[in-house]
Symmetry: C2
Subunit: 596 residues, 2 copies
């Protein structure tokens, strides 16, 4: 139906007869001539209707926004002075000799040209209109480019794309599963996978050596923050590679991706940071290295001071006292400082002590602070030296249980770093490694796996049993600009170790057998050393495309309540359907008391 796409025309088609199809982006009547900007996926081109071609001209008069047109005409140079340098096709236009209206269009529910004042619900309801915006199409194009680049790397490195089931059983990630009632096995349910974790490990036991899949995963979580009920992973597993070999290969893939899609150079190698270092310096296991300032421990300078908040935390083996220097922060107003104190309170901090350095040259005299008077002057000066404070800076303090201090100052660091322009325009990837195997949960009084229960420890069975809290894992997270974009581990490949880990996690044998028995059995039959990683594709595309939300890089996302306004899903179903599945609805909420 067409010889070219609209956005592809350049001077190299001059004087050619072309057929174009596309949407009416804009129509202008000017000097007895009609101009239509015709739009397709590749861009816009100006089409001119002249009364000399009477049929086409007459029809063009009836054309409205978003009408779908087929145009036959000749490419010519735009008259001097009317070129549009902002348009790929801006040096040419098409003089139309024939026009066909392929379809009419009602006025769209919102204009395509700007995103202003359109609610997200409206955009999602008319997603097929929203997706006509060139900016949206560019994001989907970049998503396609990214996926293709990643696949290409995987293919070139001997990874086979292998599909795993969606109708499966509860997986170990521990979030809530989406369930699918089985009709043929009444009272039984499939779970949609939170990841193909167990299947990919079984593929390694099968000797398939290297596997990958670009695969949908599902979590029925409350959609705070930027989550979606279904999301896409690049899921990878390999046999016979140790942790360094895996992380080396994976960062090579990401470097190649950024080079290919964004022409950006990432560091080689990526920095590696232990979990302990990350928490110490950045108060986070996903540090944004673009922000140039760090948390600095100062407890050793404050154990003997009279200020109880500091001294108490300094002496508590589980406490932490840390300082965070914000360059040029002395200009912060009282109101701003109060707001920051309220911000850290979200993370459990009971206040936000600070010292403004109005004049570093005059020692204690040059400081402005509600706390300096409680601290020994030599300690204050030693702290300023240690954090490298200069005139015009502010230094914040956290003193509490280590977890609270790290989280609060870590979050403050990110907030200030981003708000004050320290986090723009650079790519700062790193690996975080040496995670603890387990985290102790005081409330439940038991260990939890920090990655998942299949992650291998760096130590042997006996050492692990002797002091589980000390054990580090062979887990690794790839972090980019403060976002975790990939996480993985070397897995346990011996049954005895897997048994021990399940026991430490309080997964009793029967439960382990019922949930993961097939994996334990599989480990008996010759499992190779193996490990892998999963990258969050949506998040990666979001970062690379500069989008504000993963919803912007998915064709048909859902709202925060997991609802699709466009197709209106989820929806009621018939009683017949429920009957076939052997389930029924609990009574509606108002009659809740009667439900059994």
């Amino acid at each position: 139906m067409r010889s070219h796409r609209c956005g592809e025309l350049t001077e190299s088609q001059l004087d050619q007869e072309v057929d174009l199809c596309g949407w009416t982006h804009r129509r202008r009547d000017h000097g007895g001539v009609i101009f239509i900007d015709l739009r397709d996926r590749e861009g816009l081109v100006q089409v001119v209707f002249d009364p000399d071609y009477a049929d086409a001209f007459k029809l063009a008069e009836s054309v409205r926004s978003e009408y779908v047109l087929k145009v036959h005409g000749k490419v010519r140079s735009r008259p001097a002075g009317t070129e549009n340098p902002n348009l790929g096709t801006g040096k040419v236009e098409v003089l139309a000799t024939q026009l066909e209206i392929l379809n009419k269009a009602e006025t769209p529910p919102f204009p395509l040209e700007s995103e202003v004042e359109v609610s997200e619900e409206t955009r999602l309801r008319y997603r097929y209109i929203d997706l006509r915006r060139p900016a949206m199409q560019q994001k989907l194009r970049m998503r396609r480019d990214i996926t293709r680049s990643l696949r290409g790397f995987m293919d070139a490195n001997g990874f086979w794309e292998i599909e795993t089931p969606f109708l499966t059983k509860a997986t170990p990630e521990g979030a809530r599963d989406y369930l699918v009632p089985s009709r043929t096995h009444p009272n039984h349910f499939f779970a949609l996978p939170q990841s193909p974790q167990l299947y990919k490990q079984l593929l390694m036991v099968s000797g398939l050596d290297r596997y990958y899949q670009v695969v949908r995963c599902f979590r029925d979580e409350d959609l705070r923050a930027d989550r979606q009920p279904e999301f896409t992973q690049l899921d990878i597993e390999t046999s016979f590679m140790d942790q360094d070999a895996i992380t080396d290969l994976m960062e090579e893939m990401i470097r190649a991706l950024f080079k290919e899609v964004l022409d950006a150079e990432l560091p080689n190698p990526f920095p590696r940071m232990t979990y302990a270092e990350a928490m110490r310096d950045y108060g986070s296991d996903k540090p944004d290295l673009r922000v140039p300032f760090k948390l600095v421990d100062v407890a050793d300078l404050l154990t003997t001071c009279e200020f109880k908040v500091f001294a108490g935390a300094a002496k508590d083996p589980e406490g932490r006292v840390a300082a965070l220097r914000l360059p040029k922060g002395a200009e912060l107003s009282r109101k701003e400082l109060d707001d920051l104190a309220a911000f850290v309170a979200i993370y459990g901090a009971k206040g936000l002590a600070y010292i403004k350095v109005t004049d570093r040259a005059t020692g204690i005299e040059g400081l402005q602070s509600p706390i300096v008077k409680f601290l020994p002057p030599e300690a204050v000066l030693a702290i300023l030296d240690r954090v490298g404070a200069e005139t015009g800076d502010v230094v914040f303090f956290g003193a509490d249980k280590a977890k609270i201090v790290s989280e609060a100052l870590g979050a403050l660091r990110i907030k200030l770093g981003h708000e004050r322009g320290f986090a723009e325009g650079e790519w700062k990837p790193l690996w975080v490694v040496d995670f603890p195997m387990f985290e102790w949960d005081d409330k439940d009084g038991r260990w939890f796996a920090m990655h998942h229960p299949f992650t291998a420890p760096k130590c042997g069975v006996e050492e692990l049993k002797a002091d589980p809290g000390k054990a580090l894992s062979k887990g690794y997270d790839m972090v980019l600009n403060g976002t975790e974009i990939g996480g993985g581990s070397v897995r346990i490949h011996r049954q005895d170790m897997q048994d021990v880990v399940f026991k430490l996690l309080g997964i009793e044998d029967e439960e382990a057998q019922q949930k993961f028995g097939f994996l334990l059995t599989a480990l008996k039959y010759g499992a190779p050393p193996h490990g892998g990683i999963a990258f969050g594709l949506d998040r990666l595309v979001m970062l690379m495309s500069g989008a504000n939300s993963i919803r912007e890089v998915m064709a048909f996302p859902k709202t925060q309540s997991a609802w699709c306004p466009m197709i209106d899903a989820p929806a009621p179903v018939t009683d017949m359907q429920l009957r076939e599945l052997g389930i029924k609805l609990r009574k509606p909420p108002e009659a809740k008391g009667e439900a059994n």
Copy 2:
């Protein structure tokens, strides 16, 4: 951990030190030396343990089948006369100097070397063992190759891979949906997609021009024949291409695929056959063109004969009398003929009349048949002429309603053609086109869509309304060797036409609005002419790899009752989970009467 894969070693690595990892495929002790065939995804290599390297030799003595090993050694030529020409690595062996046992293995539940006498349930329960068989890995490798070839073609032709949701609403295919209860919207359910049909049409309305996706689809059907609850489609949609342009491009893709993966040449172009021709000549809308014989209409020769079964059907406007000549079929025994009569009875045929041609030269005398005596000799001879019967052939007859005759003789044609070796070793693709828009269902007294309700007719609105039964659609099926591997259509892109089709199908406005309202709305806002196709990837891989079942080309298939013996899914869930989802189980079957 390794320098090469086992199966990759050739004489070009002679005298190199190599590190290999793999599974113990076979161990033999012979002449004071231990031979281990070490296996990985790429193949086997012979490793030799000599007592000269005492540590490795001693350890090798403890090695059993399927132990996972790491071997260091030197590649050398096999001694003259011990080369194995059946093995890629058969000219070399590795003299091991170091051995590490990476993991032990219990004796596998079934031997890997042959498929004999292992039940499919056992194979599925220990799928990770089953997948170690080289034959299984070859099928997954070919699946990978096929997918990659198809993606490559799509990418090269401007199709964008775009992901569509899995948590969606009932789609129009009409099979039973898998449902997913929503927790955040009580009493509402998502449906898993039977296809991304509506989403891909909306992507065209979005102006995304060309889309594809290798995508999982779900149908909760009774798994007769070779079906799976989840299966994979190559799903495609394009704008601004008419039927011929689409089918031309799609067959080009399939030709490129067969060339690339199998080095096979498919015809160019594929033959095109109308639905009417296919039913007439092959009694099937997916004819296997490898079988060289056809159904031949003979009603015109039999309208006046005394044999009521023939004459009745010949005179019935909805009847059909057809003959099928089986070359060299005169040797069929009475028992075999009875079995064939029982076979066609499955399709509703009341019997299977036949004429054996024992001597074509002697006219009626040379025939052997229970029916010839009821037929005018000149009609019999005319039939034999028309079907081209020769001495030694048998000619079968069907006389009944056209549907029964076509289906019965069509199935008989396939059965005999396959059993008697007429259908081997060739690739015979074709397009079947010009399907009727609608099929009349006597039982329900209404029209059904032969493809789906979004398929465009070849005629205009008025003509369609005037005689729906005559209307042909712009649907097309790609058929290969008797299997439909792809099906698609040009879609309706105007709202008025879509309204009319919904009305003819008895989908009233309110229902249409509720089910497909978003599509009807979308068609108002400037939908381009568009169409597409979906290929059944599992089936295509099955055909190309010569597998007997789609279960053989899926890594983790389910049984006929939609059960996975390996992970034991579906499984019971907790009452807490059901409560959160706002559903409960109906009473167990034995208390059925009490359920409300």
